[in-house]
């Protein structure tokens, strides 16, 4: 596949590193030094030019591309480049990077004519919500921009009798969720109505973020809900994190040094308590009992500030710290300093782009149980034999449809709902069946 990449910065070079071995890559950037650094390390074609210049794009050969990735740090450049790519290479898939979650919304609603939009701020927020969102979970994966979660839980002795010890058909399963698998020891079943969840087993649940929270509360009653997370920094990243966490019903406090930004955050999030403070003042931390928070997230612009604030907050007693590392090297440094999770937004973005680049239609998003099961995110073709079929009539081949994404909105289908062409289907399946499932859709 011919891949045309605009932007050779951190995201661009990570994408090159992942894709250069299998694909033919062309990289366009305005900065010659970045291009030569790439050209020395990888076997890729490089062009100096402007992503917003149609002539530069044409000269660099965008017309032959099968996939165009606009991954500069500037939204305007990426949007314009994406627009020209549509004209110059109508056959190519396009991916653009944006720092504005609003563009992601627009794309989901079908208002942006590109195939994929990736937003570092949003990806970071989702990554963080995966690590703290469902406290009772062993493992969490999110799909469809956070609207669908796949969560693996350990079922403990104190779990609610509403769902444990009764056949699934009688269990009070939270709304908008399905049990995808029950695992007893080595044995895994895709459950039917007669199967029973028992203490000591593990289960995999597909559902909305709210349903995941509900399951968490059912399976680990008392304590295991996240109600107090402190976010330092109310810039773009901090705001995106706050939005995602609040949407999941997690209580959020925010600390922001700039009065103006703090005011804006307070206006946007009435549910969050926002402080205009640097967060580095011990008196403030003490007075507001920041140490009592269940977790603290550091999303300030400056890595050194994030590191220092995280250490300070640990001293005050916060058990779990997550810090945003803007420089790749900071990830290791944060790790060394005892920060529990370090996330580099650009790395997360590059991963997302590479995931799409591998196969634009099928996203093999997750492997469970030592690769025995897979979660697939497949877009239904018009020619699929199951278009127009009600979900109750779908064949059961060791596969379960957890959710579909239609016009950007996740639906947790019931038996009467009908599959339509263009639906993104999120399926939990045995790995052996995966090729068959992809082919059938």
């Amino acid at each position: 596949m011919r891949v045309f990449l605009i932007g050779a910065g951190q995201v661009g070079s990570t994408v090159v590193d992942a894709l250069h071995a299998e694909h033919e890559l062309t990289v366009l950037d305005t900065e010659p030094s970045r291009l030569s650094a790439l050209a020395y390390r990888y076997d890729v074609a490089t062009y100096e030019g402007d992503g917003t210049s149609r002539r530069d794009l044409a000269r660099a050969g965008i017309g032959q591309a099968d996939l165009v990735i606009a991954a500069t740090s500037r939204d305007e450049v990426n949007l314009v480049a994406g627009m020209f790519a549509r004209r110059e290479a109508p056959q190519a898939k396009t991916i653009i990077r944006t720092s504005e979650p609003e563009y992601v919304e627009l794309w989901r609603e079908g208002q942006l004519d590109v195939d994929f939009v990736v937003c570092p701020e949003l990806e970071t927020a989702h990554a963080i919500s995966r690590t703290i969102g469902v406290p009772a979970a062993r493992q969490t994966d999110v799909f469809a921009g956070g609207q669908v979660q796949i969560v693996e839980f350990d079922v403990e002795a104190g779990a609610s009798p509403d769902v444990v010890g009764v056949p699934l058909r009688d269990a009070k399963i939270p709304h908008d969720s399905k049990v995808a698998a029950i695992i007893h020891g080595d044995e895994t079943v895709l459950p039917g109505g007669d199967d029973v969840i028992r203490p000591g087993s593990r289960i995999v649940v597909i559902g909305s973020p709210q349903a995941a929270q509900a399951w968490s509360a059912l399976l680990a009653p008392g304590g295991a809900t996240v109600e107090d997370v402190v976010i330092f920094g109310a810039g773009r990243v901090g705001t995106a994190i706050a939005r995602v966490l609040l949407e999941q019903g997690i209580g959020v406090r925010m600390v922001e040094a700039s009065t103006e930004r703090a005011r804006r955050a307070a206006e946007v999030f009435p549910q969050a308590r926002v402080f205009a403070a640097t967060g580095l003042d011990p008196d403030f931390l003490e007075r507001e009992r920041i140490g009592q928070a269940q977790a603290a997230i550091f999303a300030m612009r400056d890595d050194t500030k994030n590191l220092y604030a995280a250490s300070l907050v640990k001293v005050h007693g916060v058990p779990f710290t997550i810090a945003v590392a803007h420089e790749p090297v900071s990830v290791a440094a944060f790790d060394q300093a005892g920060i529990d999770v370090a996330i580099n937004p650009r790395a997360v973005t590059a991963e997302e782009i590479v995931r799409f680049a591998h196969d634009p239609r099928t996203q093999q998003v997750s492997m469970l149980e030592g690769n025995r099961y897979e979660v697939l995110d497949v877009t239904t073709r018009e020619t699929s034999r199951y278009v127009g079929t009600a979900f109750r009539d779908m064949p059961v081949h060791g596969a379960l449809i957890g959710a579909i994404v239609r016009n950007g909105t996740a639906i947790f289908p019931h038996g009467d709902d009908v599959l339509q062409a263009g639906d993104r289907v999120i399926i939990f399946t045995e790995a052996a069946n995966a090729p068959w499932v992809i082919e059938a859709l």
Binding site: E267, R273, V274
Partner: protein, 515 residues
Amino acid sequence: MTAGAAARAAPRIGPRRRIAIDVAAAFNLVGSLARYLGLAALLPAAVALWYGEPLWPFLAAGAITSGTGLVLERVTARTRGNVGVREGFLVVSVTWLVAAAFGSLPYLFAGGDQLGHPLDAYFESMSGFTTTGASVVTDFDQLSRSLAMWRQFTQWLGGMGIIVLALAVLPRLRVGGRQLMESELPGPEIAQLSERIRQTARRLWGLYVGLTAAEALALAALGWTGVDERMTPYEAVAHAFTTMPTGGFSTQATSIQAFSAAAQWVIVLFMLLAGANFALLYRGLVKRRPGVFARDEEFRVYLAFAAVACAALVAQVWAYDLAEGEAALRAGVFQVVSIMTTTGYANADFALWPVLPILTLFALMFVGGSAGSTGGAIKVVRHVLLGKILRRELDQTVSPEVVLPIRLNGRPVDERTLRAVAAFVLLYVGIWAGGAAVIAVDSAFGDLGLRAIEALAISATALGNVGPGFGITGPMGSFAPLGDVAKLTMIVLMWVGRLEIVPVVVLLTRHYWRT
């Protein structure tokens, strides 16, 4: 220096100009408003014609007003059209003084003993235009029908505002009209009903006329069907004219007590409507979106407040054996709605009630209607915002860094507006206390023997544009026995209260006038 250079004078530093206000332009606008205001005398003239009463007091009053307006306009004609934001305060303040002067002319000409004195005439007229409803009339039978209708009509004109009416009807006021309108319409901000201020003014006045007509019809229907023998078409129109502006003047010495229970309930309903935000009423009733009522925070608080106060007063009326059954319910509900919306009607002589219900009514004088209603006093929205400001203050005492935007209907409220609300409430309380002090001193000199609560209530009832006080100034009493200084104080309080203090008080600051 050549002749050519002298012809085009070099720019030089100009002379000092001290006055920052274009007084001539402001008075020019006042003049043209007065010119049109004189036409208002045609309505009582028509009533006089119908009942065969003398026409001349009204025609003379109208001619004098229009003539004075015309002269004022001519004298200041050279600066026509320069009324900016700054002049607006002066225009609004002076217009209301002029309107009251105009309104007092028929009383001077035809008021006889009880209204013929200039101060009494001006008091009655100011009380009319500001929709207060405090009266110096002692013998209602002596008033001619046309003069009584004129009292009612001044309240109706003042309710939605003279300037708002002018904006709706006159073409000239379009420039700078918004600020003029904000000075006159009650409440911290006005909700725009249209992109154009003129259109907004027209819709508000249209709704006002419509509701008044609806009430007049509803009341007249009671008369026609024989439910209420005393509710003649004349009385129906007269009381519709003073319900919708939350005025409170009545043609009867016993106010609304003179009418049947059914009429009283109809009036309760229309008083409640008059105390609601007219922009909201327009959206809900005219545009037929009833959902807006449930969503509006101020409206919910307004109704909740009225409900709680009604329950409290009904319980008191019952407990003190002042009335029983439906009469007790009616007395409690009517009096709460009347005082809270600052209408000032009475269906019982509450001046004779024990101290607890009197204190309840006294407290209600400070509530007022909603922003954008015709009611006076502090207004519900300011109480809501002030409560939120206080709660935030307490929260920030514990956590100084916390950022808490104050929301109304889910939208953040600008900090400047919040400061203005706090300043307004402080000014309101200060002016009320000052007014009460002057009235008390005057009463001491005049041997009137007002009690503390009576003096405080007179000040509150004037500033809040409510109407009746307690004791001798109660709903069945009169303000006539008060001394001249007390009457003058009330005139100022009514004027300041109707314009919501700030446009008047700002005229007293040095920087308003000087550069």
